[in-house]
């Protein structure tokens, strides 16, 4: 057994961290949040040139040919930087869906542009709030055309193409649709984290292409893979929130002592540290399942997703509390972390959804 990333992988992570510390300070997320752009365009272009989107894409489709472990580490660093770019939509959702479900021909057609960032991708699945995203669908494919409406689609306004979970006959399918069409209506939605904007997509007979491998199981598998990758992004955000709160509490004095020296504060940090390390271990296991042991993913992915969602939310709310009065001001960064934690915790179904799914898989019949 070897439960750690390799030296090469750690080197990649270090390089990514150094790059992002220089080119993506937290002010970048704030600028997108306060400005009119849906994402940081320059950062996006550079990330595309650096080949980050291509990380887990096979070289035959224009990728870098690394694996899932490398992508996990990049996700971690992007999360740590609160990077305001459609990386997750493109890499964990669209590219992963195509890798899992596309035919060779479909991969060859769609992946190269996604892998360079020339095109932005996303996955559209939510229809009715609270409903399982791949059952009882109303969005449908008929004669190669999409009809229906999807809500809270990540990066809906920025994306060039969407993989859409839909129904064809009585079968659940994944369909790819180009979004620059007058048969697609896009509406930005006001949301808690405008540095990761969401929108609705309405398809009025837009042309689409059904991916070769479809069905509920395939959609569930795409979800599992994305959940594991999102977990790393959440973990990165949580770790940064923890670290910068710790720094603040070491520097801030009350009653002549650093705030961090009070036992009541130490206990909160200890709780947070424990949560972080447990979430990290669960995420590592999911990374391994992603790369090497697909049969483990149906338990490992929900596990990582739940732990990471909860710990990022905890870290960001504690960040606000431990900063005291300034913690809820616009000027301090705490709310940026809180927004991101909320947004990432819901983007792929809430922790509650994943808990339900996890235990159904653990306790239910093998095929559920």
């Amino acid at each position: 057994m070897n439960f750690d990333f390799s030296e090469d992988q750690k080197l990649l992570q270090k390089t990514a961290r150094e790059y992002l510390e220089k080119h993506c300070p937290v002010a970048t997320a704030r600028a997108v949040l306060e400005g009119g752009e849906p994402f940081a365009r320059r950062l996006w272009a550079e990330i595309g040139e650096l080949g980050w989107l291509a990380t887990a894409v096979p070289t035959s489709f224009g990728g870098a040919g690394f694996g899932a472990l490398e992508l996990c580490l990049l996700a971690y660093e992007l999360g740590r930087a609160l990077a305001p770019v459609p990386f997750s939509s493109t890499a964990y959702l669209a590219i992963e869906a195509l890798l899992v479900a596309g035919s060779e021909e479909q991969k060859a057609r769609f992946l190269p542009e996604l892998a360079t960032g020339t095109k932005i991708g996303t996955l559209a699945f939510v229809e009715t709030p609270g409903r399982t995203p791949f059952r009882n669908l109303e969005t449908r494919v008929e004669h190669g055309r999409l009809h229906g409406k999807k809500l809270v689609v990540p990066d809906a306004v920025a994306a060039d193409l969407a993989v859409v979970v839909a129904r064809e006959g009585d079968r659940t399918v994944l369909a790819v649709a180009e979004l620059a069409s007058d048969r697609v209506r896009r509406v930005p939605l006001a949301s808690i984290d405008p540095s990761r904007p969401v929108g609705s997509l309405e398809f009025r007979g837009a042309s689409c292409e059904v991916l070769a491998e479809s069905g509920e199981d395939v959609v569930a598998h795409v979800f599992d893979r994305a959940a594991a990758l999102f977990a790393f992004e959440q973990l990165g955000g949580a770790e940064r929130a923890f670290a910068s709160t710790r720094e603040y509490c070491l520097e801030r004095y009350a009653f002549g002592r650093p705030v961090a020296s009070f036992q009541a504060i130490k206990h909160r940090f200890a709780d947070l540290f424990v949560g972080l390390e447990l979430a990290r271990s669960n995420a590592y296991y999911a990374a391994w399942a992603l790369a090497e042991a697909p049969e483990e993913l149906r338990f490992a992915a929900p596990n990582a997703r739940i732990a990471a969602s909860e710990v990022f939310e905890l870290a960001s709310t504690e960040m606000i509390q431990l900063h005291g009065g300034v913690g809820f001001t616009w000027e301090y960064d705490c709310h940026l972390f809180y927004r991101r934690a909320k947004a990432l915790g819901l983007v792929l179904g809430s922790p509650r959804f994943w808990k339900d799914l996890l235990v159904r898989r653990l306790a239910g019949p093998a095929d559920s």
Binding site: G275, L278, S281, Y284, E310, V311, W354, L358, V359, G364
Partner: protein, 436 residues
Amino acid sequence: MDFRDTPEEAAFRAEARAWLEKNARALRPGARRAATQSRADADTVRRAKEWQARKAAAGWACLTWPREYGGRSLPPIYSVIWNQEESRFDTPPNLFAIGQGMLGPTIMAHGTEEQKKRYLPPMLRGEEIWCQLFSEPGAGSDLAALRTSAVRDGDHWVLNGQKTWTSGAHYSKWGMILTRTDPDAPKHEGITYFIVDMESPGIEIRPIRQMNGEANFNEVFFTDVRVPDSNRVGEVNGGWKAALTTLMNERAALGSGFAGPTFEDLLELCRTTLVDGRPAWEDASVRVRLADFYVRWKGLQYTNYRLLTALSRGTTPGPEASIGKLVAARLRQEMASFAADLQEAARRASRGRVAGGRNLAAVLPRGSRTPVGRGHRRDSAQHHRGAGARPSRGNSRGQGHPLPAATARARLNAAGERPRYRADARQKLDKVPGAR
């Protein structure tokens, strides 16, 4: 990154399993092996020693110890594999972990050649059991504040004082003890480490009765106990260094072996407990709690794997080594409490006392959502909220708990005499509370 056995590990696992199948009985389904030290009566001690001797003879003892001391110089993962395999068999409790896991390595690092030759082989073969005499009533968290004294008298030392929380003192042949040898030195610098014969005159061992009526720990009193200087480990007043070796090994040795229900037990209970004719896990509130347990359970297990990976690379574990200590005990308590509440809820439902039939959420305790990483702070809030609700749900009638009140009372009464026994009356071992 790889969680699967390497080919060498897989071969080792197969070999271990084959040997166990030949030499031990498989555990009955649903049964669990006895916890480490509980109910260690004379017969249990005898069986534990025999089993250890057989393992040692076949080369399965102290796998991580260097070859020169009888081990196999294997990385820690092999001990884990062995333990995983052995846990499927009905073998006696391990009474040797403190010696082999903590004190043996200390003797290897700081003992003399004579000490290594004399003590390590019988420790490995399970012929002599060891206990660790560190904590005192006023020096536990601040161990270096200890006051038990050792005063030189020719080629002997004379020990006086009291130790506490000593696991297995009543069946141990040897103890490793920290003593104060220079009361005027700074507290870390006046400490000397000894090996003490637990059968020496002047040692009195008193069991500490626990809330479950058993007594796995002891207080140990020293009155003019004579220890030869040849039993000193390390320099005079230099014992703290050796103590740190023990403590480092303790941190690595603990954290995995906790008694109590496993997640798999709990899941099985939720599968088989019927509420209104349907398995409990089909209730949404039960699923949420199960998932919370699973996330922490697996998080602990994988954190342990990360530690093992670090250890096998020769890295010293950092603060994450303390996570097991912080999480495991509370997690087991919460799982056990949930199991008891679930059974009670099912019983009430079967009597038609739960409004809405399967609405378990109305019966299970509040605070059913226990987020990962929220430890004592959140839980103390739960206690306040739950305080009014819990006892009223039939617990006062002694129902709905795994250990009915009558049984618990009987055990407490049996232990009530609080026997005192001296080292020279060790045949009275069976009087240890909880021995039956």
